[in-house]
């Protein structure tokens, strides 16, 4: 479990996060949603320690991460897998080298063992026979899956996704969503997903936190969101005609 308690974050004079408290549960997909510029990426980067919070606490399984020293944080970081918006794959390395990278850095495995593990993770995300390609030779959806394979290679306890479906077609986005859900259940991870993809909200939103102007404005799940009585949330989630029709259909049935 990851607990975020009353965190504040500002850049120069601009307050980005204001008094945010959220609990992310294990074995569930925890979604952070909000408009562009609402502060959700800053929140995600603060949780993983890429930004230092000004005030408040970030707690990983009863250990206060936000006040840990660098060496202690390193131990937690080895249990974290993160998939960035653009994949953040190393473009001078092949697909298999990318997936093997954490193993090379943090384990004493032999090359054969590393290759076996990397291939297993690639197969787990439905990728085969692309080991020797470079990331630039693969599609956007493949790059996301390679990044997921790299994130799970050390069997993480905490998985973070920043906009996993951005730039993907709806069909590939559904595949990625399903994969995230399966991995969360299989590995029993605390999965935190930063998204503004409404399909993800409806499909895999076990827990949803809506961030509005740097504050947590609403929280619930993918059933409760359809009946929520919150103007800002409804303006955001049901901005499209399609989503409004989905809501009307859901409410009728």
């Amino acid at each position: 479990m990851i607990e975020v308690k009353n965190i504040y974050k500002s850049f120069r004079d601009k307050n980005i996060l204001k008094d945010i408290s959220i609990t992310f549960e294990q074995g569930k997909t925890n979604l952070i949603i909000g408009q562009s510029g609402s502060g959700k990426t800053v929140l995600l980067k603060s949780i993983v320690g890429l930004h230092e919070v000004d005030k408040g606490q970030i707690i990983y399984d009863n250990k206060i991460f936000s006040s840990m020293k660098h060496v202690e944080r390193k131990k937690i970081r080895k249990k974290i897998g993160m998939v960035f918006q653009g994949g953040a794959l190393f473009d001078s390395s092949t697909v298999i080298e990318n997936v093997m990278f954490p193993l090379k850095m943090f384990t004493e495995m032999t090359k054969q063992e590393m290759e076996k593990r990397a291939k297993f993770c690639l197969e787990r995300v439905d990728l085969r026979d692309i080991e020797d390609l470079y990331p630039s030779e693969t599609s956007g959806g493949m790059q996301k899956r390679i990044a997921i394979a790299r994130a799970i290679v050390l069997e993480p306890k905490y998985l973070f996704f920043d906009e996993p479906n951005s730039g993907l077609d709806p069909k590939t986005a559904i595949i990625i969503d399903k994969l995230i859900k399966e991995l969360t259940v299989d590995f029993n991870t605390v999965t935190v997903i930063n998204t503004h993809d409404m399909n993800s909200v409806a499909e895999i939103g076990d827990n949803i936190a809506f961030i509005y102007k740097g504050r947590k404005w609403w929280s619930g799940n993918n059933e409760e969101i359809f009946t929520a009585n919150n103007k800002e949330l409804n303006d955001f989630v049901f901005a499209t005609k399609l989503m409004r029709e989905v809501r009307n259909f859901k409410l009728k049935n």
Binding site: V48, R77, I80, F84, G86, A88, F106
Partner: protein, 246 residues
């Protein structure tokens, strides 16, 4: 105030680079890779610059000696000492600041923009050490070799220009390059190159590492890396010359 802040941040960055590496074996592999990318790949440009520098210095000196009282072998001596003392270290250093500095700043800058540096940090890897230390070690190890190579090629260029023109007899040139030789000049030049290599790589890496924004900012950071390291090379050149040749 901003200058002081940047200097402080640069030294903090250096402190992070020289922290104990995660796995030495991996660093060893990376150093060889960087020697290939930053060092061996620079042999061509160093060869071209050095051969022409040596030729031009020889011809200019020869054509400027008009007094019959000055022996022609002084042309060879001048070309040799110019190459060893200044051209092979400082001028080649400035050229490498352009080539290697821009390469380092843009490579690291693009990694920052594409979140690859964040990805390394999340994994628990000391990104500054992992990305920059092998580059610094590689250039500090290989640039002195390039400098000595430049000296040889430059003097060879001088000989070649004497051979293909009627500026001076080649025997005079050969006599000049053997006359009154100070081995310490080579040591002085190599010491300068070691410092230049460190300055070029660390300053350019610093510019790339802290890039914010997109491709335009990466371009600006590369330019800053080249400009700042060139200025520092000229400054360090004066200081080291005063210290070592006094």
């Amino acid at each position: 105030m901003n200058v002081l802040y940047q200097i402080g941040k640069y030294f903090y960055f250096l402190a992070k680079i020289f922290k104990k590496p995660e796995k030495r074996k991996i660093y060893l592999y990376l150093i060889f890779d960087e020697i290939d990318k930053l060092g061996i790949n620079s042999i061509g440009i160093v060869f071209i610059i050095s051969i022409f520098l040596g030729a031009v210095v020889t011809l200019q000196t020869a054509y400027n000696i008009s007094s019959p009282l000055i022996p022609l072998w002084l042309v060879g001596l001048t070309a040799r000492d110019s190459m060893i003392l200044e051209f092979s270290s400082t001028i080649v250093g400035l050229i490498l600041a352009g080539k290697v500095g821009a390469n380092v700043a843009s490579e690291i800058g693009m990694m920052r923009v594409n979140e690859q540096i964040e990805a390394l940090e999340i994994m628990g890897v000391n990104s500054s050490s992992y990305l920059v230390l092998p580059k610094i070690i590689a250039t500090v190890l290989f640039f002195p070799i390039l400098t000595i190579f430049s000296m040889i090629v430059g003097i060879g260029g001088g000989y070649f220009s004497a051979f293909i023109t009627d500026a001076l007899p080649t025997d005079d040139f050969l006599m000049g390059i053997r006359y009154w030789f100070h081995p310490f000049y080579i040591t002085y030049s190599v010491i300068k190159t070691l410092v230049f290599a460190f300055v070029i790589t660390s300053v350019s890496a610093y510019q790339g590492y802290f890039v914010k924004g997109g491709a335009v900012e990466v371009g600006k950071a590369s330019t800053r890396g080249v400009v700042y390291s060139s200025i520092l090379i000229l400054l360090v050149n004066v200081i080291l010359t005063e210290l070592l040749l006094k």
